[in-house]
Every structure is written in structure tokens, then in C-alpha cells.
């Protein structure tokens, strides 16, 4: 690993020296908006409204409607739609009403008299517990394909659950009833859907989470942190309480014992991808945001960045790969949303946890410049390695040389203590790299794959046909399952 690190350092240094090398801003441009002077616009949720408008929910409990955010940033207009709410961590527009997920409830907000401000705050459900601990956030989604809205509830702090359903995901049915859906939530940072409408949330490093994670929510599952198990007593629809996971074990081992346990789709590798995963946005713009259609974009509050995730399903389990995508947001992103034109809106705040962006809060827009970066497009697990596709044709000489790649595999301790180091290192050898007939894919054969491990792949030697290096030459694939074929 030492050798690998120093090689990387050399490469990084070389990249800095070579000024002509492509950079993120050649492909994606960040626009930072001025925000209303009278408030700290700590954006924690974003929703699209009819007429090209946006709604921004904030940690200070305000909702601002924004016009013109798709165009010239100097012409953006803000209007205060609602205030006095308790931390708005989810917004959903439906049938002329805006639904907010706050600390205590999901409520339907409507402007009945047409003055641009909400006058109806009708509670949809408030049937979960809040004990007064600052961590007890509630994150909400938009409405899913069944018309349900999902809520994830942070534990009371990191370890335990003091009051009803802290540490659970719940579904709000159209009639307002609240159905327990998943146990095992620790500290959510964002929620979202994939292109097929499946529900995901991000969780944060801490007990039972060696790193931040992207997780797939399906009813009846246990998502990893047993701190909220006692609420099985109040959730008969969930069946019996699962067996407790063993402390200081491994996720892959405990999956064998705890049948309800679902492994994270992707580990957002700590310190490398980020430290505090937040929003999840799926690119449904049909190519207007660049070549990564239907992939997920996951932000990190602490690193002020956005990463890119490709998900596949193997043996009925979601798993996938995360790549660095875009650095340089100005604060700690929390809320995100993409419009049909492929403009990604992001907003956030550094309050309480810090963010490398440096500003206390921000509202920003990411636009694709129209240039296609040379990147790994998708990465799929194979019985003996991986198949990777690229956004641009590759240089066959470098792409077919195993020496252009370096691999490492590791995992985290699955434990009740806070976080985990990277453990159980395996250094697989890449035995072959075969470029596909389309010149845009490479089939890599590994001498070994380790089930449950994160497979870290560096592609520093690979060049595009045009001679460019891979813009982000690293991938972290969470290999929950090894496919049979």
C-alpha cells in the first residue's frame, strides 16, 4: 500500500504540473447564487415547482420560492413562502400543495389566497417521537411510485433510540397513516429515488457504520444499526425482532446470521469520498446533464463535494460503485434537486459539523458545459473481475495493459464503536485487461475477488483515444455479491 500511495502522489504531482490536463470545471460549471440578505439561507431541501420555480426549505425553518434560478444568476428572485417551521429536511410538490418533512411532522402547505405565501399548514402525520435531542432529524422524500412519502428518523444521538421509531424508516400512505418500513437507521443525511423509483437514503459514519453509506430501503429490512430495535414491539407488520448483529464482526458475516440485514449499496469511503453523505439526486434529464443518465449523484456536507454512483443488482441485492465527481461547492451541501433541463441545484450549510467549502451556507447550480469528460461510465461486477465502460473511446494500448490499473480491496469492522479503520486488506492482481469491440469498454480479470469487500480500482495509466487521462481515475466498488456469470 505504501508503494501505491507514493505512486499516486507522484501521479497527482505530475497532474498538477501538466496545466493542459482536463479539469472538472471544463465539464461542469458551478454557479453560486446571492441569497436573501435578511436570512441565513441554510438550504436543507429543494423541490421543483410549476413554472420553472424552485422551493428551498432551510434549517431555520423557512421555505423560499425562487424564480429565475435556471438563468442569469443576477436575475434570481426569492420570495418567502413560509417560516417558523422546525428544520425542513424534505419537500415534495403534489397537486398544488407543497409537502414538508419537519422534525415533528409531514405537513401539507398551500397558498389558498394566492398571495405567494402559505396560509394552510395541514398536518399529514405527526405520529413519531421527538425527545428534544438535537440529532433527532427527520428526512423526507418526494412521493414514490406508490404515492407514499418516506421518512427516515435519526436516532437519539449515535447509539440509542429514546422515543418512538427513532432509527427507523417509515412510509406515509396517501391517507396519512404511518407504516414502519425499515429498522436500522442511524443518522440519515438525505433521501432520494433511482431511475426505477426505488428508495435510497444516505447514512453517516458512526456506530455500526464504518463509513458513510448509500442504502436501499425496502419494507421489512434492517439497515444495520440495532439501536432502535425496541420499536419492533410497536410494528407488528415488521414481524419478529431480528437477532442482534454481533459486535466487531463484518457486514458480510452478519448478513448470514441476521436475515433482515441489508448491506449498504455503496460505502462512501471515509476521508476519500467524504465524511458526511447527504443528498441523493438521480439524473433523469435524458443526457442534458452529460453522459451519466440514470446514475445517482450523492453529496457530502463535510467535503463540499458531489460523488457519482452507478448501481446494479446482483443476486437480488443492490450494489455499486462510487466515483469522485465534482469538488468546490461553497458550503456543506444538504439539499439537492435536478430539473428536466439537467441543471443540478444544491444548497447547504456548514453549521454544527463544518464543511470544507468555507461559507456558512449556500445555494448553487451545477450545469454541464456540453463537453464529455473522459470518465469510467459504468462498472459491473463479473464472476472473476469487473467490466468497465468509458464515456469516450479508449487508447487500446494503455487500456489493455494490466499495468495501467491497480487494485486493492478492504472492508470495515461492523461494530458498535464509532466508525472503523479500513481493515482486512487484500491486494488482487489484475491478470488481464481486454478492450471491447466498441473500444469503450474493458473487461478486467482479477486473480481474486473478496465478497463483502470494497474493491478500490485506480486507472492512472489509462488514456482515452484522444490522449486524455481519466478525469477521476479511482473507483470504489462495494462487492456485496459476486455474480455467478
Amino acid at each position: 500500500m505504501k508503494a501505491l500511495t507514493s505512486t499516486l502522489l507522484v501521479l497527482v504531482t505530475a497532474a498538477v504540473v501538466r496545466a493542459e490536463n482536463p479539469k472538472e470545471s471544463d465539464y461542469y460549471k458551478i454557479t453560486t447564487f446571492d441569497t436573501p440578505k435578511e436570512t441565513a439561507l441554510e438550504v436543507s431541501s429543494i423541490e421543483l415547482l410549476p413554472g420553472n420555480k424552485l422551493a428551498l426549505g432551510t434549517r431555520r425553518g423557512e421555505i423560499w420560492t425562487v424564480s429565475g434560478a435556471e438563468g442569469d444568476p443576477a436575475k434570481v428572485e426569492y420570495k418567502l413562502f413560509a417560516s417558523g417551521q422546525h428544520e425542513i429536511m424534505g419537500l415534495a410538490w403534489k397537486d398544488g400543495s407543497l409537502y414538508e418533512t419537519c422534525r415533528y411532522e409531514v405537513a401539507r402547505l398551500k397558498d389558498e389566497d394566492g398571495d405567494g405565501r402559505a396560509d394552510t399548514f395541514a398536518t399529514v402525520t405527526d405520529k413519531w417521537g421527538v425527545s428534544g435531542d438535537s440529532h433527532e432529524y427527520a428526512f423526507g422524500t418526494r412521493f414514490d411510485k406508490n404515492g407514499d412519502l418516506w421518512v427516515t428518523l435519526c436516532l437519539t444521538g449515535s447509539f440509542g433510540s429514546n422515543i418512538d421509531f427513532r432509527g427507523w424508516a417509515l412510509r406515509v400512505k396517501p391517507d396519512g397513516s404511518l407504516i414502519p418500513a425499515c429498522s436500522g437507521i442511524r443518522s440519515p443525511g438525505g433521501m432520494g429515488f433511482d431511475a426505477a423509483g426505488e428508495v435510497y437514503y444516505t447514512d453517516n459514519q458512526g456506530p455500526w457504520h464504518g463509513a458513510c453509506t448509500l442504502q436501499h430501503l425496502t419494507p421489512g429490512t434492517f439497515q444495520g444499526h440495532p439501536g432502535g430495535f425496541k420499536w419492533y414491539d410497536k410494528a407488528p407488520n415488521m414481524g419478529p425482532r431480528p437477532v442482534e448483529p454481533k459486535n466487531k464482526s463484518r457486514m458480510v458475516t452478519e448478513r448470514e446470521r441476521v436475515k433482515e440485514l441489508v448491506p449498504p449499496v455503496v460505502y462512501m469511503v471515509h476521508g476519500k469520498i467524504g465524511n458526511s453523505s447527504s443528498f441523493i439526486v438521480c439524473d433523469l434529464s435524458n443526457g442534458k446533464f452529460g453522459p451519466f443518465q440514470k446514475q445517482l449523484f450523492v453529496a457530502d456536507q463535510s467535503h463540499s463535494n458531489i460523488s457519482r454512483v452507478f448501481v446494479e443488482e446482483v443476486n437480488g441485492i443492490k450494489q455499486g460503485v462510487v466515483f469522485p465527481f465534482l469538488k468546490g461547492l461553497k458550503s456543506g451541501p444538504i439539499g439537492g434537486r435536478m430539473n428536466d433541463s439537467g441543471q443540478l441545484f444544491a444548497g447547504g450549510s456548514d453549521r454544527g459539523w463544518g464543511a470544507s467549502g468555507g461559507k456558512p451556507f449556500s445555494f448553487e447550480r451545477v450545469d454541464w458545459t456540453g463537453k464529455v469528460p473522459f470518465e469510467v461510465h459504468e462498472m459491473r461486477a463479473k464472476p472473476d473481475g469487473f467490466e468497465i465502460t468509458f464515456t469516450e473511446p479508449v487508447d487500446p494500448a494503455t487500456a489493455s495493459s494490466p499495468a495501467s490499473y491497480k487494485a486493492r480491496a478492504f472492508t470495515y469492522i461492523y461494530q458498535g464503536d464509532y466508525g472503523s479503520p479500513e481493515v482486512d486488506d487484500v491486494i488482487p492482481q489484475i491478470t488481464s485487461a481486454v478492450v471491447g469491440a466498441d473500444n469503450k469498454s474493458v473487461r478486467l480479470t482479477f486473480d481474486k475477488l473478496t465478497k463483502g469487500h470494497i474493491h478500490e480500482l485506480h486507472l492512472d495509466g489509462v488514456k482515452s483515444a484522444a490522449g486524455n487521462p481519466v478525469l477521476h481515475p479511482v473507483a470504489y466498488y462495494t462487492l456485496n455479491e459476486i455474480p455467478a456469470k
Binding site: H86, H135, G271, D350
Partner: protein, 522 residues
């Protein structure tokens, strides 16, 4: 770093036997705040320091001391970018690190011994865990300042005052020693309506003029050898620092600090400076204005974002002290304020004057309960409880509720805002659809009234009562007073024990006002 720690320890052990007991500095992390409780302390050049670092938070933290002038935030951020940093528990490999703890897990503690640098200056310390440094930091001052207060004792008094009372004429509720030799308020669980007299000794290094700084919320007075040096009496915030000078002879002097707390915020800051040493705090809380270089300290301030009420009501849904579960604070024009509980579906707290300060919730992570800003707070029904109950007879005990639980049988439906942006709260109980709203007349400060209207739609159950008030209820010409602090008028009510009850009916109208204040006795 291990090497330099070893050297420091070796130096210390060599000196053992002749060295004085090390100076003990206790630093704790504040749960869920990502802050140290002590962010500023002073040691003498070359002093042996025993730092007891206790982590009360639920995530690991460390304590790393740097040389003066190091941009600790930039350094910590850069450190995190090193992929190997996680294996070092995020301890930076930097020769400017002077002393450090290990990564201290939640609820654990560590003691470290080190020798303070010989050079006078301000030495930053910080937690180098990812993202923590931006706020989790403090300063160790190496200064020639003399030792602080010795033999510091306190006497706690209970009472409600507008000005500092004659404590000598009062009987203390409790007496004891003050830890750490630093003036501090949190010596007991009392948050409101108490007074403290601190007494101790201060040693002046030589004869000369000394300047004492003092700030308090509320009234404070500092006496040395029985002479008043500086005071700031009355009810006020802690923003203003007052100064007073006194000539002292070399040697020990008696220090007496008198303080009282009305309601709301509570702080004391006291510091002194002499010809040979800079301004040095004698209190645990260091006033932000007193920070070195006059730079405002970023941190756990609980004031600074007051929510001003203009021509429309202002709503604030957050953790409000003494306001039941899920309170909705409403500041109305005219100086009327209330908190209505969306867990117990009832008016929980009324007060007048200023509305509330959001700083506790809008700075840092936002935990904790914030008391209102204004005055004359009253809880009309005492501990939060439900508005309606079916009672076999009126003497039956009113149902009790846990403020964090949703009241059984009640269903919160939300609220609407009218054209004036006044809220009407809605809920259901016993098949009834109930609304609850408040209007105002006049100014709260000058006899104005708060008019409450409850409307019940549906079939009202037999023996259903609405509890208007609870506590010490006395009849007056116009209605009743509750705890001598709030006037209540309602038709058809009767006092039953400590409750003021009215039969549930389609419309219930209640008028609240504050009694005219008697002039404070001098």
C-alpha cells in the same frame, strides 16, 4: 510527536520531587455540540500542566495544542486529506504540535501531562477529527498573570429581584465551594430567580493599580476588601462590560462578587489586569468581546438572533423551555407572546415584551430548550397538559401527560393563517373538531388583553370540561388571577381545588392579561 511527548514526560519526571503539583485543567466536550466547554485558559510560562480531557459527546474527539499563529482549521482540513490520517486517528504529523491527547472515545477521558512553553503567547488548541476544527477550538494563554482566585466559595439565595438585594440580610439556601477557582453560575439546578455571593482571595503580585472588568446577566457587583470596585445592577443582558480601577497593596485581598438572576439568560464575566499582566479572566465564561484582539468568538452563544415582531405575528417552532411538547411559539404585534403545544394541544406559556432569541437553535447544531426573551412568563395550566377531559366529577384529578408524548386521544391537524397572519390551531378530540386561536387588544405592557377563542364542532361528550387554569387561583372583580401573575376572565367557570374549569361547549372565550405591576421595592 511520540518523541516530543516522551521528552516532555521525561522532563517532568526528572523534575518530580521538587516541582510543584501540576496545574490541573479540566476540559470536557459538550454533548452534541462539537465544542469544548473551556475554550480559554491561562497558564504560567513553563508551568507543569495536567490536562484532564473528558469526552461527554457521542463521537470521538481529541485535543491538540499548537504553536502560536498556526491556522489550525487549515491544518486540520489538510490533515484529513491525507489517506493515512485515519490510521493516526487524525493526529496531524506536524512539528508545531506541542501536546495532544489520543482519540478519546465517547464517554471516556484521558489525562495528559505537559510543560507549558516558556514563551508568552496565545497557543491554539483544536480537535483534529474531520470537520471539527472549524468550531471545536480554543486558546491556551501563556501569561505571567498571577494565580486566580483561591478559596473560592459560594452562597446561593432564592428570590425574585429586580436589583441586587442586601444579601447580608438573607439566609442562604445552600453554600459550598466553587470548582476550578473560577466564578461560574451552574452550581445548582436553578435556572431562574436566584442570587449568588462568591467570596475568595486574590493575590496582587505587587502594589499598584489594577483594572477589573465585569459583565453580568442579570445584576453584578464586585467588592474588594469591602470596597465596591465595579457594578452593573438591575435586569439586563451580558453584552456590556463595565470596568473599575483600584489600588492594591502586594499580597492577598478579599474578593466578594454579588450576583442575581431574574429569568432567561444567565452569565457572569469578571477579569482583572495589572501593569505586568494582560486582562485575565476570573470567571469560567469569557466574554466574547474580551477575546484577544477583540475578535468575536464563534461558538455556543445563546443570544444574538432575537426574532423581532413587526406588524405580523412571527412563528417559531423549536424547543422552547417550559412550553410543553412540540411548542409553536407565536410573537404577536403589541408585545403578546405565547407557546402552544402541538403535543398536548394546549396553550402552554404566555409572556410579554420581546419574543424569543433563536441563537441557541440557529448557531451550531441547535440542541436545548430556549427560554423566551420577554418577561412575565406564566404557564396558565402549570405543567403542560391537555385542554379537555371527561371527568366523572369536577374534583377528579386532571389527566397528566408526558410532554414528549403525543397526548392520548388527541390528533393534531395543523394550523391556518388568516389575512393578518394570525394562526388558528386545529385538532380533534373525542370526535370533535376543535380550533383554538388568539387575538390581541391593546399593548401587552399597558393592560392590553389576549383573547382566546376555542370552537368545538360535533357532539360534545357528557361531563367534558375545559381547564382554563391551574395553580393558585384567586377570584377578582373581573375574573381570576393565576399564581398572582396572570388575570383570566371566562364566563361560567368555577374553581375546583387548584383548577379553574368550564364545561366544554361549542364556543369558549377566555381573556388573559397581566396584573398591573407594583413598583419594585427599593
Amino acid at each position: 510527536m511520540f518523541r516530543s511527548t516522551f521528552l516532555l514526560l521525561a522532563a517532568l519526571f526528572t523534575a518530580r520531587g521538587i516541582a510543584a503539583e501540576p496545574l490541573v485543567i479540566n476540559i470536557k466536550t459538550i454533548p452534541a455540540k462539537m465544542l469544548y466547554d473551556v475554550t480559554d485558559f491561562t497558564v504560567k510560562p513553563g508551568a507543569e500542566v495536567k490536562l484532564v480531557f473528558e469526552n461527554l459527546d457521542d463521537m470521538p474527539h481529541n485535543w491538540v495544542l499548537f504553536e502560536p499563529g498556526v491556522d489550525v482549521v487549515a491544518l486540520a482540513n489538510k490533515n484529513v486529506e491525507d489517506p493515512e490520517a485515519v490510521k493516526r486517528d487524525f493526529l496531524p504529523l506536524d512539528k508545531r504540535v506541542l501536546a495532544h491527547s489520543k482519540a478519546v472515545p465517547p464517554k471516556a477521558r484521558e489525562e495528559i501531562l505537559f510543560k507549558a512553553p516558556a514563551k508568552v503567547g496565545v497557543y491554539p488548541f483544536v480537535c483534529t477529527f474531520p470537520g471539527h476544527a472549524a468550531i471545536m477550538q480554543g486558546k491556551m494563554r501563556v501569561s505571567l498573570a498571577p494565580p486566580g482566585l483561591t478559596g473560592l466559595k459560594f452562597a446561593l439565595y432564592l428570590g425574585s429581584w429586580q436589583k441586587l438585594p442586601d444579601f447580608a440580610a438573607l439566609k442562604p439556601h445552600r453554600e459550598g465551594e466553587v470548582p476550578d477557582g473560577l466564578i461560574q453560575i451552574k452550581l445548582d439546578d436553578y435556572k431562574n430567580q436566584f442570587g449568588i455571593v462568591y467570596s475568595g482571595k486574590l493575590s496582587a503580585p505587587k502594589e499598584g493599580d489594577y483594572t477589573f472588568s465585569l459583565a453580568g446577566d442579570d445584576g453584578v457587583r464586585l467588592l474588594i476588601d469591602g470596597k465596591r470596585v465595579v457594578e452593573h445592577d438591575g435586569v439586563h443582558g451580558s453584552g456590556e462590560i463595565k470596568e473599575g480601577k483600584i489600588k492594591l497593596t502586594a499580597g492577598e485581598h478579599e474578593v466578594r462578587l454579588e450576583y442575581f438572576q431574574g429569568t432567561g439568560e444567565a452569565e457572569i464575566y469578571v477579569a482583572w489586569k495589572g501593569a505586568d499582566f494582560p486582562n485575565t479572566a476570573l470567571s469560567k465564561w469569557v466574554h466574547p468581546e474580551a477575546a484577544v484582539g477583540g475578535k468575536k468568538k464563534k461558538g455556543n452563544s445563546r443570544t444574538g438572533i432575537p426574532l423581532a415582531v413587526g406588524t405580523e405575528p412571527v412563528l417559531y417552532r423549536n424547543f422552547i423551555a417550559n412550553a410543553g411538547g412540540r411548542p409553536i411559539g407565536v410573537g404577536y404585534p403589541g408585545g403578546f407572546n405565547l407557546a402552544w403545544s402541538a403535543a398536548q394541544m394546549n396553550l402552554a406559556l404566555v409572556w410579554r415584551g420581546e419574543f424569543i432569541d433563536a441563537a441557541l437553535h440557529w448557531i451550531d447544531r441547535g440542541g436545548g430548550e430556549q427560554p423566551p426573551l420577554g418577561e412575565d412568563q406564566v404557564r396558565p395550566v402549570g405543567d403542560s397538559s391537555v385542554p379537555f377531559a371527561v371527568l366523572a366529577n369536577p374534583e377528579t384529578e386532571w389527566p397528566k401527560t408526558d410532554k414528549n408524548q403525543l397526548a392520548a386521544g388527541y390528533d393534531w391537524k395543523g394550523y391556518t393563517l388568516d389575512a393578518k397572519r394570525f394562526p388558528t390551531f386545529a385538532y380533534e378530540w373525542s370526535g370533535l373538531k376543535i380550533t383554538d386561536r388568539f387575538d390581541t387588544a391593546g399593548q401587552a405592557a399597558t393592560g392590553g388583553t389576549l383573547l382566546r377563542t376555542l370552537q368545538l364542532v360535533g357532539t360534545i361528550p357528557a361531563n367534558a370540561y375545559f381547564r382554563v387554569a391551574s395553580g393558585n387561583i384567586q377570584p377578582t372583580d373581573a375574573g381570576y388571577t393565576v399564581e398572582g401573575a396572570l388575570n383570566v376572565a371566562v364566563a361560567g367557570a368555577k374553581v375546583v381545588g387548584r383548577n379553574l374549569l368550564v364545561p366544554a361547549q361549542a364556543e369558549i372565550k377566555i381573556t388573559y392579561s397581566w396584573p398591573t405591576k407594583a413598583e419594585p421595592v427599593q
